[in-house]
């Protein structure tokens, strides 16, 4: 009794010392664990890959570099890559920022719908998008007819060119910029814009001088992802570049990998290193841009429109919806109509329409349901893991910027920039026998896909979380600390509610991209672990185009359902959980 009393008496003092010791322990443990995990999951596979480029039969050599770099073709490829990525990233930036600005600040109607429409390119499998666009622009299409009917000498653009590739890539990846920019724009305090207008600047100047620089963290974050996505994209350069004979790094790497020479992998690894360097340059550029940007002081999200389009509202809405419907209608309609046909190339008419493809997909083929199940599981797992780990990483990166955390951001970006096939190979190298002679059985099961997906898509979440975190002033956290909340409580009650919209956009991206992932899974999947992407790919390869389109249609409908329910969940969270 006496003892307890004394203990209580000495309470504060002993608490301090005991806790401070513990705190110190924890402070070291979390970064240490993070570091180890990062090294194992991100650094090792890449190191393994790079190592390959320097060796010939396990003997170090420069030979592959000498060979590849002295080849004039390589430099041509690098040049193509450079222009393609530059052009498409620019397009994604302009389109993404403009749409984000319009949707967040203007009084345009049906914002939620626009939001979902913008995300469509992430839901429709990318090969279908490309295919349908090339069909649209071919000579016999209704679109060409329409253009000829118009006065003047307009012709459907030739997509099998560098600008064509930029266009398709830009169109596919602008949602990345859009999503990240929206998150930031909402957080810019109205007051800062007011101050600029009181200083006499009109809307244009305010946008250029205030809004744009303040939104830079989001724009640059989304822009970097679009850049990386453009860099690693294989489908579009393969589809459009082969007929146009334009080779970029991702297709060149594929050509090397499938070439069956003894040094095929080594040469592919050399090209991958080149690609990695370009990716790092992009990341570096983004840092330079962001170096001067500062955190905003409020974290309040203002969803009220900030300016009125006035008389322009209807025309602007018409243009925006025209654009959105056009760019999603083209692939969707081609996908849906193909899925309803009994055979490829027949005309669309009452006799040729059939639902048998759907019946087959939904009820007769056992693999499809398994694939949906697997993809759903993988997407949920990846999104969940990335949400937690990515946010922790982003937190340290934003709040304690240091060489270490910057490096961590960098390495998580690389797996996203590498072409899928290269990453898949690196995963095999790293995970089949993590320690020579010991095969833990990760490879050959669904485990390897779980790891590969997280490795590949983590950066989407890291960027999303970083953008969100940069909008929350430190004083919000400090106020929580003096109120006695830390760790879990602080996150649940203060940080998450403030961060959620930003976190969600990252998580949504991770979820959507892993849900339809193809290249990595096509190398790493194993029996019974087929994914949606692989299944569609199989149908396509075997010439069952109508099955693949039917399945794609099912998947798109499913995804729209998922997005819808996520939006709903967010609403409910906003209404209920946060307010408690």
């Amino acid at each position: 009794m006496d003892h307890t009393a004394r203990k209580n008496q000495g309470g504060p003092a002993s608490w301090f010392s005991a806790l401070s010791a513990r705190t110190l322990g924890w402070r070291w443990i979390i970064p240490a664990v993070t570091l180890i995990v990062l090294i194992i999951f991100f650094v090792l596979p890449i190191v393994r890959l790079v190592w390959l480029s320097f060796t010939e039969d396990a003997v170090p050599t420069w030979q592959h570099y000498r060979e590849v770099l002295s080849d004039a073709g390589t430099w041509m490829v690098v040049q193509h890559t450079f222009w393609m990525v530059l052009g498409s990233t620019m397009m994604a930036l302009v389109l993404g920022v403009f749409m984000a600005w319009l949707v967040t600040y203007s009084d345009i109607r049906a914002k939620k719908m626009i939001h979902v429409m913008v995300m469509l390119p992430f839901i429709i499998p990318s090969y279908i998008i490309t295919l349908s666009w090339t069909q649209l622009f071919r000579n016999s299409s209704w679109f060409s007819g329409f253009l000829q009917w118009l006065p003047g000498t307009m012709e459907a653009p030739d997509l099998y060119t560098l600008p064509g590739m930029m266009f398709m890539l830009g169109l596919s990846n602008y949602p990345l910029v859009y999503l990240f920019t929206v998150a930031v724009l909402r957080k810019i305090p109205q007051e800062l814009v007011s101050a600029a207008r009181a200083s006499g600047s009109g809307r244009g100047t305010v946008f250029r001088k205030i809004t744009l620089p303040l939104a830079l963290p989001g724009i640059a974050g989304g822009g970097l992802l679009a850049f990386l996505a453009n860099l690693d994209n294989f489908g579009i350069p393969a589809f459009l570049g082969i007929p146009g004979n334009i080779t970029v790094l991702s297709t060149a790497i594929y050509q090397e990998v499938v070439g069956i020479g003894p040094s095929a992998f080594a040469r592919a690894a050399v090209l991958s290193v080149l690609l990695g360097i370009i990716a790092l340059l992009g990341t570096f550029l983004q840092w330079v841009l962001l170096r001067k940007s500062r955190q905003l002081e409020t974290a309040h999200e203002e969803t009220r429109p900030r300016f009125s389009l006035g008389l322009w509202r209807s025309p602007v809405e018409t243009v925006v919806w025209g654009f959105l419907i056009f760019i999603s209608f083209v692939p969707l309609s081609s996908m849906v109509s193909s899925s309803l046909l009994s055979a490829y190339g027949v005309d669309f008419s009452v006799e040729t329409i059939t639902f048998s493809n759907y019946t087959y997909i939904l009820f007769e083929n056992e693999k499809t349901q398994g694939a949906i199940g697997n993809s759903l599981l993988l997407a949920l797992w990846t999104a969940g893991t990335a949400l937690i780990a990515g946010t922790i990483l982003a937190y340290y990166r934003v709040r304690r910027p240091s060489a270490l955390t910057r490096g961590a951001e960098l390495v998580t970006g690389l797996p996203y920039a590498l072409p899928g096939i290269v990453l898949a190979l690196a995963m095999i190298f790293a995970w089949m026998e993590p320690v020579p002679g010991w095969n833990p059985g990760i490879y050959g099961g669904i485990g390897i896909l779980m790891i590969a997906y997280v490795t590949r898509f983590m950066i989407l979440q890291v960027r999303g979380s970083m953008t969100a975190l940069m909008q929350v002033d430190v004083s919000m956290e400090e106020a929580a600390h003096v109120s006695g909340a830390k760790g879990f409580t602080k996150w649940r009650k203060i940080m998450l509610p403030l961060l959620l919209p930003g976190l969600i956009s990252g998580t949504m991206l991770v979820f959507l991209t892993s849900f339809t992932e193809l290249t990595v899974s096509s190398l790493l999947m194993s029996a019974g672990n087929g994914t949606i992407g692989v299944t569609i790919f199989d149908f396509e390869q075997a010439g069952y185009t109508h099955y693949s389109t039917a399945f794609s249609t099912v998947v798109v409908v499913l995804m729209l359902g998922v997005i819808g329910s996520l939006l709903l969940a967010h609403q409910i969270w906003k209404k209920k959980v946060v307010k408690i």
């Binding site: 800062l192 007011s194 101050a195 009181a198 200083s199 009109g202 100047t205």
Partner: protein
């Protein structure tokens, strides 16, 4: 620039922030808006700037209609400058860039200033004492430094209407005095109209040509500092501006009997009719004289605060707690019995028109 507000109202949902404001700010006038927290000062200023659309009423600037509930002239088309209560510094710009910004974009900057932007930036930064901070970013400044940058930014382009929302609240007394002088100098030199929002009556009294006392979204009283201070029309103004104690009692022909104690009579004076009707004599703390001997109303000292040159006492007289300011050499302790009498009551000056608000 002259500004005319007629029947301006503003509501946020259910909250009435402003109800029926009629106000004229003449060209070159320095008007202070004085009122307690939440009375609608910032809202009024934001309506003047063009950031809020009034729910009702109209605003004319230089005879031109600039706002009614349907359409407003946007802020950038008005020849204004504004200091925001929350500073609203742009986190991505250096101090000197913040100040240079309006010089570049403000539509009405005199050509002479446009030509020497860099010097002008230097000039206003010197004026607010931040010449050494030109290259800092906002997050490297202290609260008061931020506020001074906001001030410099607003005055740099010499707008013809300057709107200031508590521009000195984060400054220490010395700096505040200095800034007051600077603002007065700007006002004199450029003849710009100034609407100055503050909750600090000393600031309003010292600087303004005219004071608008606001409460609960309405104007309680307008007038010169002297009028508002010495001849409050309402209890609120008396309390808020003069921190007056409301002494209840009886008004008779000869004067006022505090607490209806007929043995004491305070001289009749110019006083608003409402007070007479309500049987109240407003006494400012320094009008009371504290008699250690005990003459006058008997009371007990319940609180004392040291204020350097004077002492602030709270004296309990029959359950009423009145504030009394006494010279520093009057030294009574808490619990002591004292007497309170009236020190001196002045008459309105010749040229001060006592304006009676509705």
């Amino acid at each position: 620039m002259s500004t005319l507000l007629q029947d301006v109202r503003k509501t946020f949902g259910d909250t009435v922030a402003l109800s029926s404001i009629d106000l004229e700010v003449k060209d070159g006038e320095f008007v202070a808006i004085l009122g307690p927290s939440g009375c609608g000062k910032t809202t009024l200023l934001r309506i003047l700037a063009g950031f809020e659309t009034p729910t009702g009423g109209s605003i004319k600037m230089d005879e031109v209609e600039t706002a009614d509930p349907r359409r407003i002239v946007p802020p950038e088309k008005r020849n204004i400058g504004m200091v925001f209560q929350s500073f609203a510094l742009w986190p991505h710009m250096k101090v000197k860039e913040q100040v240079q910004f309006p010089l570049e974009y403000h539509k009405y900057v005199p050509q002479t200033l446009k030509k020497r932007k860099k010097e002008r930036v230097k000039e206003v930064l010197e004026m607010v004492g931040l010449e050494d901070y030109a290259d800092r970013m906002p997050n490297e400044l202290s609260g008061g430094q931020k506020q001074r940058v906001a001030l410099a930014r607003a005055v740099a382009p010499q707008p013809s209407l300057l709107l200031m929302d508590e521009p000195l609240s984060s400054l220490d007394a010395g700096l505040r005095m200095e800034m007051r002088r600077e603002i007065q100098a700007i006002h004199r030199k450029t003849g710009t109209s100034i609407v100055y929002v503050t909750h600090d009556q000393a600031e309003a009294l010292a600087m303004a040509d005219r004071i608008i006392v606001m409460n609960h979204g309405t104007i309680e009283q307008m007038g010169t500092p002297h009028d508002v201070y010495s001849f409050p029309q309402t209890e609120f103004t008396a309390r808020f501006v003069g921190k007056a104690n409301m002494v209840p009692g009886t008004w008779t022909k000869e004067g006022f009997h505090p607490l209806s104690d007929s043995s004491i009579s305070w001289p009749s004076t110019w006083i608003a009719a409402t007070f007479i009707k309500n049987g109240i004599f407003p006494v400012r703390p320094e009008q009371f004289q504290l008699n250690e001997g005990g003459e006058g109303l008997k009371g007990e000292v319940v609180n004392s605060q040291f204020q350097g040159k004077e002492m602030h006492y709270v004296v309990d007289v029959e359950g009423h707690q009145w504030t009394v300011h006494a010279p520093a050499d009057v030294d009574v302790s808490i619990g002591e019995e004292v007497g309170l009498s009236l020190a001196g009551v002045e008459a309105p000056g010749r040229n001060s028109a006592v304006s009676v608000s509705s």
